[in-house]
Structures are given as C-alpha cells and as structure tokens.
C-alpha cells in the first residue's frame, strides 16, 4: 500500500506550515506500512483544526464534538472490535474540555491509538492559550502572559494508567509514523502526544524550537519496556530538551469487547415468574 492511497480527494484547509500536515502524512505512512485498508480504519476526532484530519483520510471518519473523541471511539471499538480505531484530539479536546475522558480512558484501557495534536494554542478561535501552554508564556496572539499553568499529558497519562505513552514531533515524519505504527500494534490504549507548530498563533513553540531542543529518546538507550518510573519522570520533565519516542510500553489486558450469547427473551422473562 502507498501512503497516498489513504488520502481522500478533499484538500486540507490548514494554514501553510501547520503541523497537522505532518501528522496526516505520518498517519497515512503508518497505515501503509501496516497494510490496513481504509475500510478497516475509523478515525474519530473532536473539534478544531486537528479535527478536520479525518476528512482528509480515505477511511471511516467521525468528526464529533469538542472534547469527546475518546468516549465515542471507545463505544465504536466495543461495537466493532475488528476495526483499527484512531482517536484524534486537539490539546483543548484532550486536556481542557475533555480532560475527564482522558483520565477515565487510561483506567478503562480500550484498544485505541490516541493522538493529541499539541500546539499549545486554540487555533480555530484565534490563538487563546491551550492547557499545554506554560504559565507566563506570551504568544503573539495573547494580550497578556498566560496566567494559567500547563498540564503535561504524559505525566497525567502515567497517573491514569495508560499502558503506552509516546511523544512525537509533527515534522519528524519518519519517527512519528513509526510511533503511530507501534501505537496501533500495541494491544491496548496507546497515547501519542504530537508536538506541532501553529505558525499563525504560536511564535514560541515553533518548528525551529523543536528542531533545536528535540532529540530521539530511544537513540539514547532509553527502553520503554524496562524504564523505571523515576527515569520516565526525568525524561518527561527535562527543562532544556524535548524527548521524542516511546516513554512507556507496558501492555496490560484491554477492556474486552464482550460479545455475549443472548438467552431467549422468554427465558429471561420466565426467570421472574411467581
């Protein structure tokens, strides 16, 4: 399969230089590598620029409500366990309006691949601070430095029990495609935080910023299947560098999509006989 086979006929309407292009390409590359046809894939998104991704994929796509891709994707996966289900969330979807679902999904562990598009701003509504923008940061779109602190999705994912936790960069296509492939192959909920620039509203966390500060975690010998929690925390919270790779990979049983035999209705009713 060719990655291009996974693109629909619709042309993206993202701004030039948007990180979403990189993520879209990485998804198509990962699917092509795995050879999963588009009719076996369902991508579920929330609201915002990231949510439009599903329309550009030649696969089942559900563009749901702000914050809600996770619960919808879980219901779909339980209904259709044979599908590869991708949940695509913006940083606001995942960590603002939908943060409760983020936490509960870790506890539940349904077999999904969950990408968070993290550009630290609300692009579609013109650049307000997202829950991942650090306290004191002042992007060009903000009237004053951000008075609220940032939430780290990887730390939160660890607390919530996510069995697979990774971080990628939108413009490192090769690595990001590989992270998504590994996430799809992981037999449970796989979280991949994708750092991406918003060239229009975020002039702090740019493509150049990540190129300068980013590095390949696993190239430094970090093993996500063996790393201690302390090593995990240290790599997630590094002040001067941004690690990209798989931080945590500890499979545990996923919520079984119970397909049950149904007793005849008559027997169910007769059980109440007096």
């Amino acid at each position: 399969m060719n990655p291009k086979d996974y693109l629909s006929e619709l042309k993206p309407d993202w701004c030039p230089g948007c990180g979403d292009f990189g993520i879209l390409n990485a998804i198509t590359r990962a699917l092509a590598t795995l050879g999963i046809p588009g009719d076996r894939v369902a991508a579920v998104s929330g609201i915002g620029c990231s949510a439009k991704t599903i329309h550009y994929l030649a696969a089942y796509g559900i563009h749901s409500l702000h914050g809600r891709p996770l619960p919808l994707a879980q219901g779909l996966k339980v209904a259709r366990p044979e599908l590869t289900v991708l949940a695509l969330a913006g940083d606001g979807d995942a960590l603002g309006i939908g943060a409760g679902h983020f936490v509960a999904a870790g506890r539940r562990n349904v077999d999904l691949t969950y990408l968070i598009f993290n550009n630290a701003v609300y692009g579609m509504t013109k650049g307000q601070a997202a829950p991942t923008l650090p306290r004191g940061a002042k992007t060009k779109a903000l009237a004053r430095p951000n008075p609220q602190g940032a939430l780290d999705p990887l730390m939160l994912a660890y607390s919530a029990g996510y069995p697979f936790i990774a971080r990628g960069f939108a413009f490192n296509l090769k690595q990001l495609a590989e992270l998504i492939r590994r996430g799809i192959e992981h037999p449970g909920l796989a979280l991949i935080e994708v750092r991406q620039p918003c060239p229009t509203y975020n002039d702090l966390f740019t493509a150049d910023y990540y190129k300068k500060h980013g590095y390949d975690l696993e190239a430094e010998g970090y093993d996500p299947r063996a790393a201690s929690p302390a090593a995990f925390f240290e790599r997630v919270m590094e002040p001067d560098r941004v690690a990209f790779g798989v931080f945590w990979d500890r499979p545990r049983p996923a919520l079984a999509p119970a397909t049950r035999e149904r007793a005849p209705l008559k027997a169910l009713i007769e059980a109440h006989a007096v």
């Binding site: 629909s8 619709l10 588009g38 009719d39 076996r40 894939v41 369902a42 579920v44 609201i47 439009k52 599903i54 329309h55 030649a58 696969a59 089942y60 796509g61 559900i62 563009h63 749901s64 409500l65 914050g67 809600r68 996770l70 619960p71 919808l72 994707a73 879980q74 219901g75 779909l76 996966k77 339980v78 209904a79 259709r80 044979e82 599908l83 409760g100 679902h101 936490v103 509960a104 999509p257 119970a258 397909t259 049950r260 035999e261 149904r262 007793a263 209705l265 008559k266 027997a267 169910l268 009713i269 007769e270 109440h272 006989a273 007096v274």
Partner: protein, 575 residues
C-alpha cells in the same frame, strides 16, 4: 375493588424486601398485585414506605390511603397519621409506646411541628396511636422476636394472620426469596412458624405471572428490541435499569459504566454508529449534560435511544421522588433544530413495549429517540402476564451494494466498519459524503432532509401506538406517563374518558377531534407543560388543569375529587 397494604420503616431495614415478599405472596395466592415505593435520597435510616395494592382484578392505581399498615418503627406511626382508612389495621412493634415524638431522629421539623401542634409538645407514640384510633384505625402491637431481620418476617406473618391472608402463599414467597441462603431461610422459616405453628404447606408456583419492577420491564423491553450496548453513569432513578442488565449477563447486552453522562451518550453514539443497537439511560441532571450530544446525534443521523427517567427537578431537586417536569425539555433539549421522537410510558407493560419500540424507531428514522419514564414507573412493581411481553417482529435487513466512498447522507445508514467502503460523519453541516459544507443550497437540503423525518414518522406511525382512549365518558381527561393508572381510575369513577398520550413528539395531530368538545389535563409539574404542548399543537386550551408537584404521584381519589370540582387544582396527597 383493590385493597392497599402499606409497609413502612427506616430505609435499609428490610422494608423493601418485606413489601416485595408481600406482593409476591399475594400473587402466589391468586390475587393481582402491584406496588409502589416512596423513599428518601439516603442509604440508611430515613423513612420509606411501600404500598401494595391487590385484588381479584389488576389494580389500576393507588387511592392514596391504605387499608392496613405494617409499621416497623415509631416514626412510621407518626408519619402516616391520617394516611389510613377508617377500620384499617395498624400493626406496630410492641414497646415503642413511650417514645417521645421529639426524639425520633429522622422526623424532620415540618411534620414534627404539625404533629406537636395537634398532640402537644410532649406527645409520645401512644398519643399518636390514640389519634389514629380516633380516626377509626385499629392499632395492634406485634411481638419483636427472633434474630435480626427475621423479626421483619415475623411481623409480616403477624399481618397475614391478622388480615386472614393465605399463609401458604407467604411461606412459598419466603422459601423462594431466601432459598439460596440456607441460614437466612432457616431463620425466616422459624419466624414464620412462630406465628403460624400449625402445619402450613407452601403454595405451589403460579407460573402465569411474572413479577417485575418498571426498570426491569424497561430493561427487558430493550432486550426485546435487540439492544446490544448500553452505556450509563450512575444516577437515581435510572441506574436500576443498567445494573439489572449488568447483573443478567445472559441478556447479552454489553453494559458499560462511563465517567460521566457526556461520555455515556458519546459511547452509545459510537456503538450505534458501529451498527449496534445502542442506548443510554439517565435522569434529569444527566440528560442536561447530554443535550449537546443529542444535537450531534440529530445532525449526524444516529439511531440512538436515550431513556430518560424523570425525577423531581430542577437541579438536584428531588432525586428519589416523582415529577413529570422534563417533558418540554425532552422535546427541546439541544441547540439548533433537529428531529427527535419522544415517547412516554404509563406503566411497566408500556415501559416494556416502548423500550423495544424506541429502538425500532431509532433505526427507522435514523435519529435520536427519547423514551420518557419516571421514578414512579422505575421503582413500582407488579405482576404481569408473560404473554403480554412480546418482542416486536424483526426488521427486514436491506443490503444494497455500497459505492466507495459511500454517500451516507444521501443514502440509508450503513454501519461504520462495513467492509468495502467508507464515509465521513461530522457534527458540522455536511454534504452527501459527510464532508463539512457551509454552502447555502446544501444547508437547506440537509435541514429539510432531516426535518422530513418527523413528517414521515407522523404519517407512518399508526394512531393506536400514538395514544389510547380509556372509557366512554363525554368529558375528556388528558395525560401522559405514570398518571395513567390514577387517571383511568378517576375518570372511570367520574364518568369521564381518559386520553393517554404515548407519542409526545411528533405530537399526534389525530387527537384534535377528541379534544374539541373540551378537556382537562392532569400532569405532575407546576407549569402545565402538557397543557402548553397541547395548546401549541392544537390551539386548544384545557377547561381546567390538575397539577401536582410535591414529588409524590397523583392518587386516584384526589384526582377524582378534582374532576368532580371541575376547576384548576393543585394536588397534595401523600407523605
């Protein structure tokens, strides 16, 4: 004519078990029976009571007062002063006569003040018993003997003895209830034997009745309608339905508890899009949270069922009490305009039928269906003929060759994951393939495409499913939901007929001719939501309105009196 026995006591003391034993025993004895429950939002200690009505014919309604009462504690004696008919037996535990009213831990100030005003500041239970006697009630003490909860069964046996009810039926109910717990069985058999020392044989299994709560009937109706996935977040009084399905894994429903109602409805939407028959069950506060997603299911044409168990609102309101306060909300919840169907059931049998029907309608019209139930239906129980509980005939499946991509929004629903094609779904306005559009021509087409579903439903659904007419009277009483029993009973007594609405939206235009000669409305809310809906849809206003918003259901006797008075009334019966 049916009789009512009341069982009252502190929550968590076994009062619910006793009332169910009573109802089951009465059914086993060959009577028809139904019961209802009043309880506080509390785990243990606060007052609750259950009324069991029984007779040769299926009891339709509860008159409000009881013909006999088994009180398990002193507070029950105080709470129900004035709630028993003349001649009623009041069975109470011996040794509580000296208890001062003011020291009852859970008798709250309003009823306490009312009692002390009548009986004096220092009134004791014996004074309340005297007051009962002055009203023609016959108090009788029972001996508290035996270990733990078996005392309750001894009390129930004493009630059977005093009323001359068949002991063998009670023994059979006891053996059935405790059959899987040998120690409890032995203790309760001993408690029974202490009251009935003679040789009593347990009544044989009757077999032609099943004993169901409304929530169980609704759950079984969903199974009959092919439900495969049910999502929920715990909330009174809706939870019983989901936990029943959870406990009965042989029902074959995948029940998933989510983190909140936002997740619950989206989970059900996801499962429905995957081609499973899916539903979520909730109550007012949870339904408020679901409003946004309801609109999503509308624009995305999702075959989704939301079962809404109404309770007293607004906000947390009265979590365990009854109200029909969400009628207009269920009709209008969500921003923007989209089609939804709203059904309401009047009792357990209708709950069964409508739960199955709701799933059918969701498939037929590819849009959300809201099934209105309420606390009164959920926690009431009754004996039903299993013959009446039938699954609807299976829908023929249409399999058409699907082009790729599939023009979903110009073609019938196709489950996400159908092999050989794919399509898109969006909460934005969209084109035939489910891609976002802001084009004015497509927008108009899609709005009209969705809106016509209601016109189609109105034309296709037969009138006998939309409403029912009970009685022959010239004057017409109109209602919906759980007022049904009381309304039929009161209308019959007053020589009226009762028009019972089951499809609330689209509103059945066929009822207009039935209303043109004048009508009255009965409903359990303060603002007259059903009367407003009827006025909106027919231009007709009721001659008078009967409303109740105390959190207690409409009882047949107070409704009869209101019909005879023939003017606007606010009903207040019940504690």
């Amino acid at each position: 004519m049916s009789r009512v026995i009341r069982v009252a006591g502190p929550q968590g003391s076994g009062v619910d078990t006793l009332a169910q034993l009573l109802a089951r025993a009465l059914l086993k004895a060959g009577f028809e029976a139904r019961g209802r429950r009043e309880y506080h939002s509390n785990i243990m200690g606060r007052h609750s009571y259950l009324d069991v009505a029984f007779g040769a014919e299926p009891p339709l309604a509860f008159p409000g007062k009881a013909h006999a009462m088994l009180a398990l504690d002193a507070e029950s004696i105080a709470r129900h002063l004035g709630g028993l008919y003349k001649g009623a037996l009041l069975l109470y535990p011996e040794g509580i006569e000296e208890e001062p009213l003011a020291q009852l831990p859970f008798l709250d100030p309003r009823p306490l003040d009312a009692l002390t005003e009548q009986l004096g500041e220092k009134a004791r239970i014996e004074d309340v018993l005297s007051a009962h006697e002055k009203m023609g009630v016959r108090p009788m003490a029972y001996a508290k003997k035996g270990p733990g909860r078996s005392q309750n069964v001894a009390a129930l046996a004493a009630l059977f003895k005093a009323l001359g009810l068949p002991a063998g039926a009670l023994l059979a109910a006891i053996e059935e209830r405790f059959g899987d717990r040998p120690a409890a069985l032995k203790a309760n058999q001993a408690a029974f034997k202490a009251v009935f020392p003679e040789d009593v044989r347990p009544a044989p299994r009757r077999g032609d009745r099943v004993f169901l709560t409304g929530a169980q009937a609704a759950a079984l109706g969903k199974v009959a309608g092919g439900l495969e996935v049910q999502s929920y977040y715990p909330i009174s009084p809706a939870t019983d339905e989901s936990t029943y399905l959870e406990a009965r894994s042989e029902a074959g429903v995948n029940v998933v508890q989510l983190e909140d109602e936002l997740a619950a409805i989206h989970f059900a939407i996801g499962a429905a899009l995957g081609g499973r028959r899916a539903a979520t069950a909730t109550s007012g506060p949870g339904f408020s949270l679901m409003a946004e997603a309801l609109g999503f299911a509308g624009i995305a044409e999702v075959p989704l069922v939301v079962t809404l168990y109404m309770r007293g609102g607004p906000s947390t309101g009265l979590p365990t009490r009854n109200e029909q306060g969400d009628l207009l909300f269920s009709l209008f919840a969500g921003h923007g305009e989209f089609p939804r169907l709203v059904l309401a059931s009047g009792d357990a049998l209708e709950a069964f039928e409508d739960a199955a029907w709701a799933l059918e309608l969701a498939q037929a019209y590819e849009t959300p269906v809201i099934h209105l139930l309420d606390k009164e239906i959920a926690s009431s129980f009754q004996g039903l003929s299993p013959e009446a509980l039938k699954a609807p005939p299976p829908r023929p499946k249409k399999a058409a060759p699907a082009p790729t991509p599939y023009p979903r929004f110009a073609a019938p629903f196709l489950p996400v994951g159908t092999a050989g094609t794919y399509y898109w779904i969006t909460s934005d306005e969209h084109d035939a393939w489910g891609h976002i559009t802001e084009d004015p021509v497509l927008r108009r087409q899609m709005m009209e495409k969705r809106a016509q579903k209601l016109a189609r439903a109105a034309a296709e659904i037969p009138p006998e499913r939309k409403f029912a007419l009970f009685g022959e009277g010239k004057k017409t009483l109109v209602g919906f939901g759980s007022v049904k029993g009381a309304a039929i009973q009161a209308a019959r007594q007053a020589g009226w007929r009762y028009l019972h609405l089951r499809l609330l939206w689209p509103f059945p235009a066929e009822v207009r001719p039935l209303l043109e000669g004048g009508f009255a409305v009965v409903e359990e809310n303060a603002s007259g939501q059903l009367a407003r809906l009827i006025r909106q849809e027919t231009g007709l206003s009721p001659r008078f309105s009967v409303r109740k918003y105390t959190g207690r259901p409409v009882f047949s006797e107070e409704l009869y009196q209101a019909l005879m008075a023939g003017k606007d009334a606010v009903l207040t019966e019940g504690v």
